[in-house]
Amino acid sequence: MSDALLLNLVLWLPVAGLLPLALVRGNATTSRLVTTGVMLVQFVMALLLYLQFDGSDLALQAATNIPWIAEWGVAYHIGLDGLNILLVLLTAFLVPLVVIGAWRSIEKDVALFHAMLLLLQFAMMGALVAQDLFLFYVFWEAMLIPMFFMIGIWGGARRSYATIKFVLYTAFGSILMLGAIIYLVWALQQQGGVASFAFADLLRVSLPVEVQVWLLAAFVLSFAIKVPMVPLHTWLPDAHVEAPTPGSVILAGVLLKMGTYGFIKLGFPLFPDATRLLTPWLMTLSVVSIVYGACLALVQQDIKKIIAYSSISHLGYVMLGLLSLDLAGIQGAIVQMVSHGIVAAGLFLLVGVVYERCHTRELSAYGGLARQMPMYALFFVLFMLASVGLPTTSGFTGEFLVLLGAFNAAWPQHLDGNNLPLWLAIAAVSGVVLGALYMLRFALTFLFGAPKAPHQPLADVTPREMSVLGALVVAVFLLGLFPDGALRKTELAARRYQEQVMTSRVPANAR
């Protein structure tokens, strides 16, 4: 089977999965089985694509490019490159685990829930593999709709508020991005005479710096809300807390990465001059996200909120790495995206396990779970250590490389008399310490200390839950011990990103 066909199948399989789902007519167990089957097949295909992906080739691989709305130069253009290959694999890997791991957490309208899950998977995959800005935007916005239903129908007590807040926040950023997209495409048409939305064409548009700054601001708003970066983060705790477990896992595991992916794939390379101009500001915001997110995680009483704020902190590292424009930093950012996807998914699933049994998220309601649920405690400690960034885990690879990159980039500037990057890098290190602090506080009260739980007796993790968590642990260590494979597949793309952002694209007459 050709790669291109395989990628199309990976993309469209969830949509095809809607048909058998409709045929089982709302039977809960069959719906779950069908969805799991579809997702597993998708994962195997994505794995094949990953294995066949050639890291030494910079060109788009497994590409399909057919005109869609020919009048405006919109094409159905999808493909894989070093930037999206890992995230495609991550998405295909996480979502089936979510379905299996949260088997019992959805009991109402099970078929509708799985239909939404399939649609969400389709939209996320589409946004990752799209190589046409129109197509990307369609998928990017389409992700909102299933998530809107997921939080709104199966969410907690304040679901109605949380879901509207989630959609309005993200849509506001996107609507301004749409304005920027329209302007960008119009500018391309003025300069090149072609109507096209292809990323490759748009990366050639040269614009004056002032225009670039406005357009970048629109893109940053959209992506930074998704990441989320402080101060645009306030939707995240609400959405996470109110979402059902599978929703939280996908939100933390995949959706947030869409923001950082948007930056590395589109935002920064499209407007290199504006990016370099705004780097000090954006870097400061990243470090503020790291430290502020960690501080907030330190004082939360709701266990889901702890992980939600820790996500803000961890994704701050990704932004820092991308902005360092140092190869180690960029690659670290890519690894950190995947690592956070796996670790946050694991932690949210673990929270889901106790929530399913006790129906409360208050940290103070729990204590000494290690004695009643030893296996649970083992997994919890493993994911906690990965989150903290202990060597041999994926979290270490990502954060270490990002910090290395940040210092690499800061030192020459420090010698030139610009101390800001160095101070920011040092502040970012403190995030690691704070990270250890809040995770240890969490684990200490949760697992150790006087045993208490709102519901007795507590059953330990079931074999089903264990298999899911086990798969995630394997991924954590694979990425922690053998990051080479992943790094080699992404290196060239990271170098190209670096080069794109370093090269000025201001028109000659405006320089």
């Binding site: 709305i69 369609v138 389409a142 809107f148 679901r159 309005l168």
Partner: protein
């Protein structure tokens, strides 16, 4: 041009006329028989007209009729066919509220006026077409009389629409006075004149269009009229009556780039309309009032396109009209039937619709997302086209303001979807098992499915329409 070709070129209109005559004769028969047959006759006449228009478009007929009063081209025929096709769901959903031959008869009469508009090349024909479209609607509003407000609604519409017509005539008269021509090309001439009378003429014409199309501050009649009319009539007014106004605008301003003081008029009032329509819609308890305010906002987007380049404006407006109408008609077609019109109109009647009519709820959600302009639904593509036209004309700031205004609309559309899926079932909405369906329920459902298919096609192959209009 030989007479037989005139007969051929206006075949869609002739078929509508034939349908009307048949219905008049038919209405002499027994009430029961009439009710059973009339709707079928109406649908056949409209479908015939649509097919005829498509066939004429495919044959590439290009002709100027009656000394240049009418101009037909393949693009004109496609526009006609699309507009007429949108009336089929209106006819189908009318059985819930209307019996007898009156509804199809009046609707066909109104469609006759609509059908003339895309081919009209003189201000007078445009005026006549618009009047022929509006007059039957006055009667349609009072025809059902399901509540006392219907009479008030009809009167309000009659008075304000009449005022709009008077303003329009005044504008045309001044246009004739300054340019000496009744052809639409007079608008282009007047645009280039520095003469204050010419400017006044244009402002009057635009104001009349704004009044008929319900753009702020000329929007006051719309919520009351929509609320007082029955569901099918509101659906018709919100979609095809509005489309007619836009078509008139397109005809008058064809080939004319809007310049000078008119830019402010055509940018600011539609912008205010977008914002106010979307904000006011948030507070509505009546579904039809909400649709009215939403249609005020949509009128804003549509008139925004007039800022754009005349070459691309037509595509954008027609595509927007079709998607907007498909979305609105879809929402009206799947409204759960109820024997009390006031209760049916209440937003609460939508609560938990998914629990007892999952298909209707899903289609309604699609309609809301499309109207809100969320991708991948076609409402997004339509909005994209409009704003692209505005940016390309060199007004990026207006485009961004319009986009932010459209963001405001998201809120109330999402609230409707929340009602459908995330609330417990409304009291008294669930028909007990075995209870007979209201008449026409099946037909409404067919209308809903037709609009759903249209929405799907507009999502997947938007290029089809764009390349043909």
């Amino acid at each position: 041009m030989p007479d037989n070709q005139v007969l051929l070129a206006l075949l869609p209109e002739h078929l509508l006329l034939l349908g009307m005559l048949t219905l008049i004769v038919l209405s002499l028969g027994r009430r029961g028989v009439v009710t059973a047959v009339a709707l079928g006759v109406g649908v056949v006449a409209v479908v015939g007209a649509v097919v005829a228009a498509f066939v004429l478009a495919a044959q590439g007929l290009n002709a100027s009729l009656f000394d240049g009063q009418l101009l037909v081209t393949p693009g004109v025929y496609v526009t006609k066919a699309l507009l007429l096709a949108l009336s089929i769901p209106v006819l189908l959903m009318s059985r819930t509220d209307f019996e007898g031959a009156e509804f199809p008869l009046l609707l066909l009469a109104s469609l006759y006026g609509l059908s003339l508009l895309p081919s009209a090349q003189s201000a007078l024909v445009l005026f006549l077409g618009l009047e022929m479209l509006s007059v039957p609607v006055y009667a349609l509003i009072v025809l059902a009389m399901r509540r006392a407000e219907s009479a008030e609604a009809a009167l309000k519409y009659l008075v304000l629409s009449g005022t709009a017509s008077a303003v329009f005539l005044m504008g045309i008269a001044l246009l004739y006075g300054t340019t000496g021509s009744m052809q639409v090309s007079a608008v282009a001439e007047a645009m280039n004149m520095a003469d204050p009378v010419a400017t006044t003429a244009l402002v009057l014409v635009v104001a009349a269009l704004f009044l008929k199309g319900a753009v702020v501050p000329f929007h006051g009649w719309a919520p009351d009229t929509y609320e007082g009319a029955s569901v099918p009539v509101t659906a018709y007014m919100a979609t095809l009556s509005k489309a007619a106004v836009l078509v008139v605008g397109l005809q008058l301003f064809q080939g004319v780039r809007v310049e000078g003081p008119l830019v402010q008029l055509l940018a600011v009032l539609p912008l205010v309309s977008i914002v106010w329509g979307n904000v006011a819609a948030m507070r509505q308890d009546s579904l039809r009032r909400m649709i009215a305010y939403s249609s005020i906002a949509h009128a804003g987007y549509l008139f925004y396109a007039f800022l754009g380049d005349p070459a691309t404006r037509g595509d954008a407006v027609v595509f927007y009209l079709v998607t907007y109408a498909a979305g609105n008609l879809l929402a009206f077609a799947v409204l759960p039937p109820h024997d009390n019109d006031v209760t049916r109109d209440h937003m609460g009647s939508l609560d938990g619709l998914f629990r007892h009519r999952p298909m209707a709820a899903a289609l309604m959600a699609v309609a809301m997302f499309s109207l809100a302009g969320l991708p991948p639904f076609p409402g997004f593509t339509a909005k994209f086209l409009i704003f692209r036209t505005v940016v390309a004309a060199g007004y990026p700031v207006y485009a961004v303001l319009g986009l932010v205004g459209s963001f405001l609309g998201l809120f109330f559309y999402l609230r409707v979807v929340q009602r459908l899926f995330m609330r417990p079932v409304a009291e008294g909405a669930l028909p007990a098992a075995g209870q007979a369906m209201l008449p026409g329920d099946g037909l409404s459902r067919t209308a809903g499915v037709l609009c759903g298919v249209a929405t799907l096609l507009l999502t997947l192959v938007p290029g089809w329409i764009l390349s043909r209009v």
